[in-house]
Amino acid sequence: MEITAAEALVKCLEKEQVEVIFGYPGGAILPVYDAFFHSTIKHVLVRHEQGAVHAADGYARATGRVGVCVATSGPGATNLVTGIANAYMDSVPLVVFTGQVPTSQVGTDSFQEVDITGITMPITKHNYLVKDASQLPRIIKSAFHIASTGRPGPVLIDLPKDVAQTMIKFQYPRTVQLRGYKPNYKGHPNKIVEAARLITRAQRPVIYAGGGILNGGASEELLALAEAINAPVTNTFMGLSSFPGDHPLFLGMLGLHGTRAANLAVTNCDLLIALGARFDDRVTGKLAEFAPQAGVVHVDIDPAEIGKNVQVHVPIVGDVKLVLKELLARVEKRNDTSWLDQIQAWKEQYPLHYDPEGKLKPQYVIEKLNEITGGNAMVATDVGQHQMWVAQYYRFKRPGSLISSGGLGTMGFGLPAAMGAQVGMPEQQVVLVVGDGGFQMTMQELATVVEQELPLKMIIMNNHTLGMVRQLQQLYCDSRYMAVNFKFLPDFEVLAKAYGIKGYTLRTNEEVDKLLPEALAQPGAVLINCIVDADENVNPTVMAGKSISEAIDC
């Protein structure tokens, strides 16, 4: 029996066990939406395509499954671009469908036409423009495979309207044939032996664990390695939640706004064990002074990350979980405690600190949130100061419970991503922490949150300013605050009311103590507007071009 390619698309998604898609309809994607009409796959209608792609991203991060989103051609497709780039930078598996004008009109600047495969070439792991309808099932099969294996990433499929309407014989391929795509999972045995030897010999090892631990599901092995060799663990921002935030071996985050203990440990270590991390500039600061005394073992699934920014002594290309298992069988227990004593001294000498007195401090709110949820909530953030405070003060207990835009730093990511996470994990407590700036970038998705009856808890750290930029202007522009202070903001509590959800405005520690637990315990969506001190900065901070060992407080 023949069906349209659009119907085949829906069948393919069913075969891939896709439960939910996030999307926004339009002309060129019409045949696909018509095919969805008879499907059991849940469709979440967002209020802007950017919301769809961020929601699919949040869904993917929360569930570990491939996120799927759909938009129409032209503006629908371009509205996805930021979200695709975001997923690419953070290695999030997405399959993105866009409608395209009919094949005969492609290349003629027709209505709502844009070359989305051309535009997204540098920000997708791979993309397809479907010209032959019969190839669609093969392409979709390949897309899910590419998106979810190796180093995950977004794959885009652009589907011209006439192709979607073409009748084809449907058969979903069982295997994928891609001779140019064969990720390597098993680490090289000799390299693993070499790494184990270095680890056993090291006097001052530090484990530097990134988002790869979460993508590879290797949190258990990470914990086992750290405890086996008694090595302190620092997380990159993307790696947060992969190691228990309250574990004695945990140093906190490293880098630009990392803890001094983490940065000092890395600067003074003699062996840096980099696991699923990529030596990003926010982590390393001045590259020449990053871990200057250390031998480097680097485990990553992406060969291109190894040796990209720093010289590596033992490169291991492979799946971090498999490699860690092999390593664990070979390393010896380290009993020497002098290094850990030193680390402990740094931790005690340089704890994260702020003054909770006076105006309400955002750090206080995060600490309370951590206390109330016991570090067990899934926390989504936007981008900026509040994001760093979550990274510093929330003690994540469950792997994969931080949903945040790390690599691209996309303001406006928070709300739709939290929404996607909540869709994927309906039973899980999901809390969004967002700034007043970022919230206003995508706050139209409040309507989606309400429509989908999501019990999302949204905490706005409202300081009436773009805090991170303000902090940069204070440091680098002699406090000339240009275009950062909002002269007007909506009353967010009233806004919540407009959407039919409960709103709170919290101004003091006492109000937070009293009302935050109540707000978080509400059954439905809640908007919590915290009026916080605009003068509060993220500390410690490393000035541009400086070594991470030279952090300052500002």
Partner: protein
């Protein structure tokens, strides 16, 4: 140092844009790029001449490998190889100058492919050095137009870099 890479790619639409885009956005310099089908119609071969030290080359190779359409990459510069380039040069030539130009063509084993009242067009194949010398020797006559294909290269002896080679190994 200059490296000559033989890059086997799926003969898919857009593959050239993917490769070229990768070089430009990561800031690698392409000296030349030649592309064409191989003995297998599904596979194209790109010969890319790239300038850079070992570190740059390693990154170029690794980043190219990340492209799903790239099947295989060989740095032929690390082995014994032959490389060739084709050039066509149109020079001003009055009938009285033709003789001299034909003598130069002889020396370089170039061929005359077109003759006009005031011009002569020659083709020549060879490696970089030969092509450059040929161009230099014609310069004084006035080069009106010049086009080079970019380098193509192949390993010497029985060793080969094709896709079949990979599959039979």
């Amino acid at each position: 140092m200059r490296h000559t890479l033989a890059v086997m790619v799926e003969n898919n639409p857009g593959v050239l844009a993917r490769v070229a885009g990768l070089f430009s956005r990561r800031g690698y310099n392409i000296d030349s790029l030649a592309v064409g089908r191989t003995e297998n119609p599904e596979v194209s071969r790109m010969t890319i001449v790239v300038e850079g030290d070992q570190r740059v080359l390693e990154q170029v190779t690794k980043q190219l490998h990340k492209l799903v359409d790239v099947i295989k990459i060989s740095d032929v510069t690390t082995e014994r190889y032959v490389d060739r380039e084709l050039v066509m040069i149109k020079v001003s030539a009055t009938p009285s100058q033709r003789g001299e130009i034909m003598q130069i063509a002889d020396i370089f084993r170039a061929r005359i492919v077109d003759l006009g009242a005031k011009s002569i067009t020659l083709e020549c194949t060879g490696n970089d050095g030969k092509i450059n010398a040929f161009e230099e020797s014609l310069r004084s006559y006035g080069i009106k137009e010049l086009v080079r294909t970019g380098k193509i290269a192949m390993l010497r002896g029985i060793r080969y870099t094709g896709v079949q080679a990979q599959e039979s190994e």
